[in-house]
Each structure stands twice: as structure tokens, then as C-alpha cells.
């Protein structure tokens, strides 16, 4: 099946101003049909105002075996979180 209809990753933007978010994947013969299939599979309940499809083969993923060296070093650096800063009241909701 993947020979004639390769896998595509689907990203949907729910509203203007928000980012496209990964929602899943699907099979389609080309980018035009992939967009249509994304519309039919992932926006049936009014979820989207914009769709991106990307060939899954075009995505380079991090190696799960390298997770420790990639992500563990940040565990002891809580000062990188902005929670240590007092936000002036005038700023309001941020």
C-alpha cells in the first residue's frame, strides 16, 4: 500500500493566530489527494482553518536511544524557566 500511497503527516491550525499542530497521519497518492484526505479525515468536526501535509519520509526524527544525552542535561537547570521572574501587575495576563 505504501508503494502507491505513501504516508503523510497532517498538521491542522484550528484558528488564525495559532500554530499548526500535528494531528496524525494518512495514506495518499500525492500531495493534492493528501490534502483532501486530511480534510476528510481530520476536519470533520470543524477543527481546522488551515491544513499542512508533509511526506513522512521528509521528517528527520531524533534517535530514542539518544534521549538521555539530548534531554536529561536540562533537568537540573530550573533557572531557565521564567517562573522566577515577577511579572508587574500592569502587564496583565501573559
Amino acid at each position: 500500500m505504501t508503494e502507491t500511497t505513501p504516508l503523510w503527516e497532517v498538521f491542522i491550525r484550528p484558528r488564525n493566530g495559532l500554530a499548526h499542530k500535528h494531528v496524525g497521519s494518512l495514506h495518499a497518492a500525492d500531495e493534492v489527494l493528501a490534502l483532501q484526505a486530511a480534510r476528510d479525515v481530520y476536519t470533520r468536526r470543524g477543527e481546522g482553518s488551515s491544513i499542512w501535509v508533509v511526506p513522512s519520509s521528509a521528517i528527520t526524527a531524533s534517535d530514542p536511544a539518544a534521549a538521555e544525552e539530548l534531554f536529561d542535561p536540562t533537568a537540573d537547570k530550573p533557572y531557565r524557566h521564567p517562573t522566577f521572574y515577577d511579572i508587574p501587575d500592569d502587564v496583565g495576563h501573559m
Partner: protein, 246 residues
């Protein structure tokens, strides 16, 4: 009289919607298994509004359900095109293209209807039909200009279905009356837009518009055998358990 023309139109949508729903659970891939019922629901939604409005205009105590489930074959006024069996995927997609290529400009023109309900339906349905053209058209192009087998099946679909397309442009006396009254657009005037859509898709699909002997009769209640089988399944529940609701 306007209600009779609305029932014809509603019948087209309900019967084609039911045909598409037959693919549910049987489509060649999950993506199409969702796309086909999506299109079916667009059509059935339009049918419901039209039946409901027709029932109101008729004012004879019938409901949309009565019109859909309690009429017999000869009382159905749908086009022969929409009752044709699904056949293979090529036939289903071509049938959808033929119908949507007519309905998109029809509903577009109906946005100027003198009837408020028709204007409401037209606004929603013209967008839905534009998508049906896009979806079915892309498939017709890919199958027509695809592998040897897909091209052969697409050409067979054209040979099988093209003879039913002339009926799209015929108006029954009831429809003509509503056209004169400005309720529905003149079906005959849709032909140029339909021809243009089909010519564009066919040129990309490497298909040719064939010379055919037109088949008509649906508007007079003269249907193929296939409609009876469709109604038997669609109406079974209301026939076996009259008045059943859920």
C-alpha cells in the same frame, strides 16, 4: 406546485447520498471510507431541508420522513444517473463528478432564488458541491491518466454513465413552473458550466466525451430495476416498524 419540483431535487440528493453511503465500510482505503460518507451526508442534509420545505408547501400533513420512506419507486422522481449502482470506484467517482458539476453552478445560481429556504440551502450546498467536484475530479484525472487498468475502468465508466447526463438539463413541467417563478434556476442554462467542468477534467484525464443515446425517464417515475433494490434497503426499517424513531 413548487413542492413537486423540490421533491424531484430532494430525491436526487437522497438517492445519491444513499448510494455513497453504501461504500461505508467497503471503500478501498480508510481515507476514502471517510470521504465518501462525508459526501453522502452533505447530500442527505440537503435532501432533508428540501423535503421538509416541500412538505410545508404541500401542506398535506406529510413529513420529510413520509416523503423519504413511504413513497414507492414510481413516485420517486430522481434522475436515472443518481440511482445507478456504485459499480467500481471509477464509476462512483465519475457519477459524483457528473452530478456535482451540475449542482455547483445550479446552487450558485439558486442563491438569487425568490424562496428564502432555497437561498439558504443554495449558500451551503454550492460550497459542498464545489468540494465534490474537486474530490471526484482529482480521482477521475488520476484514474483516467493512471495505470493501464485504471484508464480502462475509467473509460468504461464514461461509456456506462455518460448516456444518463442529458437528463440533468431537462426540466419537468413542475420544475419549469418554479423556474418561471424564480424559485429554482433554469436547468438548461447550467449546461455551459457543466460542459466546461467536464471538458477540463476529461482533458487532464485523457478521456473523451462520447457520442451517446441519452437515457431519460426518472422525472416521470420510470426507473431502472436498481432503484427498487435501493429503496427496499433504505425503507426497510420504516416499512417493517412503521413510525419507529430512535
Amino acid at each position: 406546485m413548487a413542492h413537486l419540483a423540490l421533491i424531484e431535487l430532494a430525491d436526487d440528493h437522497l438517492i445519491l447520498g444513499h448510494r455513497l453511503s453504501e461504500w461505508c465500510g467497503h471503500a478501498p482505503m480508510l481515507e476514502e471510507d471517510l470521504a465518501l460518507p462525508n459526501m453522502a451526508l452533505d447530500l442527505i442534509g440537503t435532501a432533508r431541508t428540501l423535503y421538509d420545505h416541500a412538505a410545508t408547501l404541500e401542506d398535506a400533513g406529510r413529513s420529510e420522513d413520509d416523503l423519504a420512506f413511504l413513497r414507492v419507486e414510481r413516485e420517486y422522481r430522481n434522475l436515472l444517473l443518481v440511482e445507478r449502482p456504485n459499480g467500481d470506484f471509477a464509476q462512483t467517482m465519475l457519477r459524483q463528478l457528473y452530478f456535482a458539476a451540475f449542482m455547483a453552478p445550479f446552487w450558485h445560481a439558486a442563491q438569487d432564488s425568490s424562496d428564502e429556504v432555497v437561498r439558504g440551502v443554495a449558500g451551503k450546498a454550492s460550497k459542498e458541491m464545489a468540494y465534490h467536484i474537486r474530490h471526484a475530479g482529482e480521482w477521475v484525472i488520476r484514474l483516467g491518466d493512471g495505470t493501464e487498468e485504471s484508464a480502462e475502468r475509467m473509460a468504461e465508466a464514461v461509456e456506462e454513465l455518460h448516456r444518463f447526463t442529458d437528463e440533468l438539463f431537462e426540466s419537468s413541467p413542475e420544475a419549469e413552473a418554479t423556474e418561471t417563478a424564480g424559485v429554482l434556476p433554469s436547468r438548461d442554462r447550467i449546461r455551459a458550466a457543466w460542459d466546461a467542468t467536464i471538458a477540463e477534467v476529461f482533458s487532464q484525464a485523457a478521456l473523451e466525451v462520447p457520442e451517446v443515446y441519452p437515457q431519460t425517464g426518472g422525472r416521470a417515475g420510470l426507473h431502472g430495476e436498481c432503484l427498487g433494490h435501493l429503496l427496499a434497503e433504505m425503507q426497510y426499517l420504516q416499512r417493517a416498524y412503521p413510525g419507529a424513531t430512535w
